[in-house]
């Protein structure tokens, strides 16, 4: 059996649409529409998981784990001078998390309510220390001083110490750590 079949087929002259019968042309057009529509629907369906995956970070909950625990709220009831506390804050960056420690002071406001101050000086960001002998806060860098409730007393800082949002949750004092713009007269949160 000598077959020419094993030879590569010689490319035949391309036949144009016009040479087809009208039924054949209609069939081709119908299949074209069918494939186009089904293909488009399936294609869009397949894109849904891809888009959801790619855009996940936009809809993920923000990176900061909101509240840090300052312990039983009752322990601060008889507070007379500000107490220094180190809180842990968690920053989640995708699959990574960073735990950093921040210094805050638990104190009382003029109305006797608990108030938590960030130790960051509103002047140039040094860590403000509590000086019990002077009964006031004193910044070690440029000597700014603040009252026990954080109010501005003297020195270069443009405003008093910044208060942080607090909440009592299940009897525990919780604080949400924030950063503030320095060198401006009014408190301004920067994330």
């Amino acid at each position: 059996m000598e077959n020419q079949d094993n030879q590569p087929t010689i490319p035949q002259p391309l036949v144009s649409e016009e040479s087809l019968s009208p039924e054949e042309r209609a069939r081709r057009r119908f299949v074209g529409w069918l494939l186009g529509i089904v293909g488009a629907v399936v294609g869009v369906l397949l894109c849904i998981p891809l888009v959801r995956m790619a855009l996940y970070p936009l809809f993920a909950k923000s990176g900061r784990a909101g509240w840090s625990d300052l312990g039983d709220a009752n322990q601060y009831a008889s507070l007379s001078t500000p107490e220094r506390r180190v809180i842990q804050i968690q920053d989640v960056d995708g699959w990574r998390q960073t735990i950093s420690e921040k210094v805050v002071y638990v104190t009382k406001g003029p109305n006797g309510k608990l108030r938590v101050l960030t130790a960051v000086c509103p002047h140039l960001g040094c860590e403000v220390a509590w000086d019990s002998s002077l009964n006031k806060f004193k910044c070690p860098c440029h000597g700014g001083t603040f009252a026990p409730d954080g109010k501005y007393l003297s020195g270069p800082p443009p405003r008093g110490m910044d208060t942080l949002p607090v909440d009592i949750q299940n009897g525990r004092l919780m604080v949400r750590y924030e950063y503030f713009r320095n060198l401006v007269p009014n408190k301004e949160v920067i994330g």
Partner: protein
């Protein structure tokens, strides 16, 4: 220009009175109608057939692998430190991450199946004959490249399963005479498996092998269109020639239907049986029994029979002969006869080898199943995987993190923790939970257990293990309150 005679189709002649419209505008500039014509009106001798869908099915899965691979790479980090965490993040946190990773992983398996079917169909139809040697060789190279993709991709999650399977796989390569040791070093980027290995495998998986795939897929398609389809093996080639059919619409419809079937299979598998991720690779784990993915099982089983000085026969000689026989097929099989019934020797050898591979695969699973200690360990490994999948995602602690520093600073400085560590080590806890509580295939890791369970609950579980713990081999430890306090302080320090 204006004096030249009007040609049948002046592509750039703005004066032509051709029909207007976007498609014509585009056609004049790109010639897409001609291209579509070329693509769609290919003549298929003997007409459209379901047996031709596997090649286009492979092309479709390849496209799916490329797309899902790109999206996985959006989150994946190729390093021994982070690879496992990032895959866990993809699976447990990212929207549809588990689904797409499963599509990618199952896609590899489906690709191997389709390759075997496509090759078998080509072989049975004798479609490699008649000046199609290069087409066949390009196909064989593609087969090897896909197996390479499967091998390199398998390591990337860096879990116990993938780590140990690849450790064995690269060890096998070192058995090759003369250059074996050197090849292993090159593949691993060093004597052992480490972060350099993962970088190399990643580069091979996403740059080198895909580039080669692209080239050879292009060559394969070009050579295919050049030689044309062979058609079914028929007694009467003249009749075959007489009854040709265009690729469009029937064959394209069949190919599309098959692609749709593949999508449905992949989506159902990925949705209902998502691929698991095991615990992070622990090179110190001596219990783990490595097993390759199913498509490497036949070779895995085969290699078991060739140990010692004869290993070279099993690893190199026999596979070498089979490869030469397969790749060289169109060069030495010059008879024009294509009907499988008239090619008993070729079809016989092919069938025997294929059936032998399938049998080896089945034997491999059977052997594991029949040995109770192996079966028990494999079951434990599977349970460890399930347990890992049940746990919520644990983000990686960034370097310089306060508690990471604190954990590193603690340790033996605290006498209570030091005492707890001593209790942990002298009561056999280490045997199953590993040094430092890192966990082994026998028992879960204890790192972070202090954060998950309150101390009294932990103490209670150590004194009275629950049913699941008992089943896993956890004995009850009646420690004194004082010892228990120290032990729990130590467990708490494991972060």
């Amino acid at each position: 220009m204006s004096d030249s005679p009007v040609t049948a189709k002046p592509p750039m002649d703005i004066q032509s009175k051709e029909p207007q419209g976007v498609s014509n505008w585009l056609d004049e500039r790109t010639g897409w109608k001609e291209m579509m014509h070329e693509f769609l009106d290919e003549r298929i001798p003997g007409g459209a057939r379901w047996s031709y869908v596997f090649g286009s099915g492979l092309l479709f899965i390849l496209l799916s692998q490329v797309v899902t691979g790109i999206f996985l790479a959006m989150y994946y980090v190729p390093s021994a430190d982070h690879a496992h965490t990032t895959i866990a993040y993809i699976i447990k946190v990212v929207s549809d991450g588990a689904f797409l990773r499963s599509v990618h992983s199952y896609g590899a398996s489906i690709m191997v199946i389709l390759l075997v079917v496509h090759m078998t169909q080509t072989f049975l139809f004798g479609a490699y004959k008649g000046k199609r040697e290069l087409l066949w060789v390009a196909g064989c190279i593609l087969f090897a490249l896909v197996l390479g993709m499967a091998f390199t991709g398998y390591l990337l999650p860096w879990d116990e399963r993938s780590y140990f399977a690849t450790a064995v796989g690269t060890n096998v390569i070192s058995e090759v005479p003369v250059v074996g040791q050197w090849l292993k070093l090159v593949l691993r980027g060093g004597a052992g498996m480490g972060t350099l290995t993962i970088s190399r495998f990643f580069v091979a998986h996403v740059f080198l092998l895909p580039a080669a795939l692209l080239i050879f897929v292009g060559a394969h398609l070009f050579l295919f269109r050049r030689s044309g389809p062979a058609g079914p093996p028929s007694a009467d080639p003249v009749a075959l020639k007489a009854k040709t059919e265009r690729f469009y619409p029937k064959q394209l419809l069949m190919d599309s239907a098959f692609a749709l079937l593949l999508i449905v299979i992949l989506a159902l598998l990925a949705h209902f049986v998502p691929k698991a991720l095991g615990p992070k690779a622990n090179p110190a784990d001596t219990q783990f029994i490595p097993r390759p993915e199913w498509y490497y099982r036949p070779i895995f089983q085969w290699l078991k029979y060739w140990e010692g000085p004869l290993a070279v026969i099993g690893i190199l000689v026999v596979p070498g002969i089979l490869t030469v026989l397969l790749v060289g097929l169109p060069f030495y099989d010059r008879r024009p006869e294509r009907r499988p019934g008239k090619r008993p020797i070729a079809v016989g050898i092919y069938s025997v080898v294929l059936l032998a591979l399938i049998a080896l695969g089945i034997v491999s699973y059977h052997v594991d199943h029949a040995d109770p200690s192996v079966a028990a360990q494999l079951a434990r490994q599977e349970e460890a995987e399930k347990e890992f999948m049940r746990q919520p995602f644990q983000p990686e602690m960034a370097a310089g993190s306060a508690s990471a520093a604190a954990a590193a600073a603690s340790g033996s400085e605290n006498p209570l923790i030091a005492k707890g560590k001593q209790i942990f080590e002298s009561n056999g806890c280490v045997a199953c939970h590993g040094a430092g509580g890192v966990g082994t295939a026998m028992a879960i890791k204890l790192i972070g257990v202090g954060q998950k369970l309150p101390p009294d609950k932990l103490a209670d579980l150590i004194r009275h293990p629950n049913a699941r713990m008992k089943a896993g081999g956890m004995p009850a430890f009646p420690f004194s309150d004082e010892d228990m306090k120290a032990l729990i302080a130590y467990l708490d320090s494991l972060k």
